[in-house]
Symmetry: D2
Subunit: 339 residues, 4 copies
């Protein structure tokens, strides 16, 4: 931690900072600058709010953290990329680009089986579908709940595809984990720390979505919550951040891919459906994500988008998904990945 003193700070202010640094168990080191002094506090600064609070001392201009606040998610602990195993045949983070596809919500047996067969045929590796739906409006469809989980399991039996589904409440997390292959934490729960701790205690891989106003560092801190409970199988998912632009539902931040690859060993997948909110933009963003080095994609596919209970506007029809997958193979090849 670096403490920057104000220009012309009094000696007694500096002495007080030095006293506090010592009191907190850190070693201090002063640099005398041309217009002001800068004090280094040496030691592990993770979780030390008390150090940050030094900026309320008299004569202090600001306090600059030096260390990244996450550890298990960082290269300090693990140098090589993590490969998260989902099933005997599927793992995320290796040379294969993994495709998760399916409808936003599970609506009926017919709908989910039809979707599963279609995405499998086009080459998807994992089925997606929501049984518990976090909807902005209490008057919107809230999901089929356990019935939806049973239908997803049925689709898995039929196709062999493992499935990912969202968990929205610590109280129902065990039930979801009893059915699902991958537990999804949605963007709106990305800092629901009670839920993060809970899925950290379950033995299933977690797909952690970035929140709409979440920095990349905060995304890694939320991963750290899960990992610090003992679950290292975390997959990070960029799904668009909220900006001033309204031409897309969110702004898909594809630069998060190389940024995350430089900071963490965890795999990174992209959700272009929520990221753009418009099915016309999904395919180009799939190609771009894979070109940028994503380890996987999660894509909304619905057999009848105009009648979907949720997110119809951003869902691909199976035929469009199939076209996209064909072209995607070319980009995966160009990037030296398999699909």
């Amino acid at each position: 931690m670096i403490i920057v003193m104000k220009a012309g700070a009094a000696q007694k202010d500096k002495d007080e900072v030095l006293r506090r640094i010592k009191e907190l168990g850190y070693t201090s080191h002063v640099i005398h600058g041309t217009t002001r002094d800068v004090i280094g506090a040496i030691g592990d600064e993770r979780g030390k709010a008390a150090l940050q609070a030094l900026d309320s001392l008299h004569g202090v201009e600001n306090v600059v953290p030096i260390l990244q606040p996450y550890k298990l998610a960082s290269f300090e602990v693990k140098r090589e990329p993590s490969v998260v195993r989902i099933s005997d045949n599927v793992a995320i983070g290796g040379s294969q680009v993994v495709i998760m596809a399916g409808p936003c919500s599970v609506e009926s047996e017919e709908q989910i089986l039809e979707s599963a067969l279609a995405v499998k045929k086009s080459g998807a590796h994992i089925l997606r579908g929501g049984a518990f739906k976090p909807r902005t409006s209490p008057y919107s469809f809230q999901g089929l709940e356990e019935e939806g989980l049973k239908l997803l399991a049925k689709a898995r039996d039929l196709t062999g595809l493992p499935f990912v589904t969202e968990v929205i409440n610590p109280e129902t997390a065990d039930m979801v984990a009893a059915y699902a292959d991958v537990l999804q934490i949605g963007a709106r729960n990305s800092q629901n720390f009670a839920l993060l701790k809970k899925v950290g205690q379950l033995g299933k891989p977690v797909l952690l979505k970035r929140g709409m106003a979440m920095t990349i560092q905060e995304l890694l801190m939320s991963a750290e919550y899960i990992m610090s409970e003992g679950n290292q199988s975390v997959i990070l998912c960029e799904r668009g951040i909220r900006t001033f632009e309204t031409a897309t539902r969110n702004t898909l931040d594809l630069s998060a891919i190389p940024v995350l690859k430089g900071k963490t060993h965890l795999p990174v997948v992209i959700d272009p459906s929520h990221g753009t909110g418009n099915h016309h933009y999904v395919a180009p963003m799939c190609y771009a994500a894979v070109a940028a080095g994503a380890d996987g994609l999660i894509v909304e596919v619905h057999p009848d988008p105009e009648h979907a209970s949720s997110d119809g506007a951003q869902s691909l029809k199976p035929i469009k998904f199939d076209e996209m997958m064909k072209k995607l193979r070319l980009f995966a090849d160009a990037g030296g990945r398999t699909l």
Copy 2:
């Protein structure tokens, strides 16, 4: 709902839109424009994802909602401002500006009692203090939990001040409600719908904070979640939104006060401590909030900010809080409010 057709859309595309509108139980009405047609779908559009999904039909440019998606929070249901009663002596939403003050976290008996006595002496009406803390880092102090609730109750016994404290998990919500006078939903849980539903079922007033990337409409939708479960005692709280500006921790959106006053009967309070993240900026933002018509403030006050377990940098010392309160009275007077 207004469906805007593309310039030159084919007749069969328009016919399909009309057919779907009818199928969904709405009446349609076409306006023939100079370059394109516009189709109105008449009927209650709340919760109708299917209408929005019409924008994936061929020939449709976009779909424009007309109705606000919330109802219980709107003036449609209640014209006069709601006054939320907290205790025999305290109610929010009337002529009195209500001040909630206290430390970010409950740290010890001495700390919370000292804080409670200090803020009471300066004229605060409600004590604030966190027992369950949603912290970005799993390595940061997570709160004293039930022990913290007991200390808050002790401070209430000592001072007569009711208290507000955060609830972070549906599983512990009943326990918090057994102690607290007001349940706070924090910014990071503002779209944790499982938690919103839960506090909607408890008989205690709820202080609902706006999320960092939450529009005002979404804030009202989250209030609607609580109200649709039967709890009408909701207090809205603006606490800063996330923007590109880094000089403050968040950007406090004071225009939310007149905007909300034009859309809802619910009371509106402001949190300048989280809104700015810097104790130097708290007092001016308190004055501004009251001048703009806020019904209350929630302010962090700590007897020893430099040693606080959390949020020291944005906490006022009791003496600064006292100065602020004295000046605040003048602004409350100017606005025709009592303090």
Copy 3:
């Protein structure tokens, strides 16, 4: 400047950083941390892109600037608040809150004279009105240009009010300066450095608006452009920043007032008309701005907003402006200011 090395950076990488620091004329100072080293580069860092570019060296994690990059606008050069004199009777930055009011655009002699008389009667100190209009669309009204300046001068003759008007092009800046009392730099030109240099060479006070995506530090850098050309009479104006919220045209950042007051001696005024984009929200934001310590306001007033050539939706009618001014006096009093 602080250079943070990567954990485990090689000695030769550190040596290279030290060599470069010396080459650039700075003194270096190393702090050996527990997991990484931090190197201070001592000396004036303003304008030194070369120092910042050290972060492309091998082994460097990042480079943290310590000094503020502005000087003339800072307290380093001038400790007491600047008072910018506009005319014999009007100065901004002293105890008086200065009100600038008038229409967005000058549209006709009748309109500007009527506006000037009305705002003067309600107590405004300066007339505002646009003769050159920077409009988003080339098909929108672009202003009366020199004819508009003449009409503003006529209104000044009639009422005694000095006027502020926008300058949008270095080529016409001299012409505008020949008429106007205050030159306005609009938000869209806030980093038009050619224009900033030009108005820095003219002998008229400058009202500098913050750009829509401009940090407070960048606003001060743009002021520095004007001041470094010799013109110290700069008035800073917050007029709303662009965020994800669409309920208001922009998000008015009132915390910019205390932030700026802590960083610069220059006066600060607020534009709640552009800041909110809606006449319903203007009065509460005027009260809030003055309560937060603003030195002045700039408010759009139009005798017939529904027929205005621009910005009708955010303009106050004279009767509403008059009501606002009456109530504003109470808030100015509460803050110990005159109006």
Copy 4:
């Protein structure tokens, strides 16, 4: 334009809206909804601020524009993609992906010639380099001005590469146009309408960068400014928008590519150097941009980034640029484009 009336608006309020619509020369059409009425105003709404101002009328909830406000940039005027010719050998918008590369600033003859030779060898089609530099700080290097233009021309003579350089002032625009092949409008001047009009009158292609807080619609409106002056050779450039994320200098919005391709016939290029601000992230974003369908890239390449006068941190060394170009060919192939 659609005018949404408030629920329960009085008949006389509706009559007044109808009267105004007629007065403005539009035809009105009323839809009676279940809770409120909606009125369509039929006619060309471009440039009609008076229509928008109807939202200040009593009883009006809001006014919703239907038409896009741009025309020349839209498919209404031209259905097929525009190909902007730069030289005998280079055109942007066709099947070839066009690469512009070179240093941020022209610093010396040696530096620009070395850069030009290097980027040409790796396959770039156009040289980039700044002679007039819009810098945030007045104390930073401002460019070599006309001397820089001469050096760029010398580099063109040597390599045969046409060059793009920034124009920052209407007063010096003719001079820049006398040397340059493509005129760049930088992000900070993207709504400097005086400058847009000026380059619209010059006979050279214009590379128009998106501003940091500019919506895609506003980018098209700025293109419309240039085109409405008679210059149809406009190339749009996405270079990152400003968001809350600080891990990158800006957030590169690659979804702008498919969004723009759906709205305009103008070619679209991407600037990953400014878009990320970090040379480590440039190559992945180049691949992603081409995969998403970009017509070209503009990339900063500097022979000695650690000594660059500007933007060293985001510049590629020639050897890294060469590696990137080799891999980029694979992605261009995958997308059915040549390089």
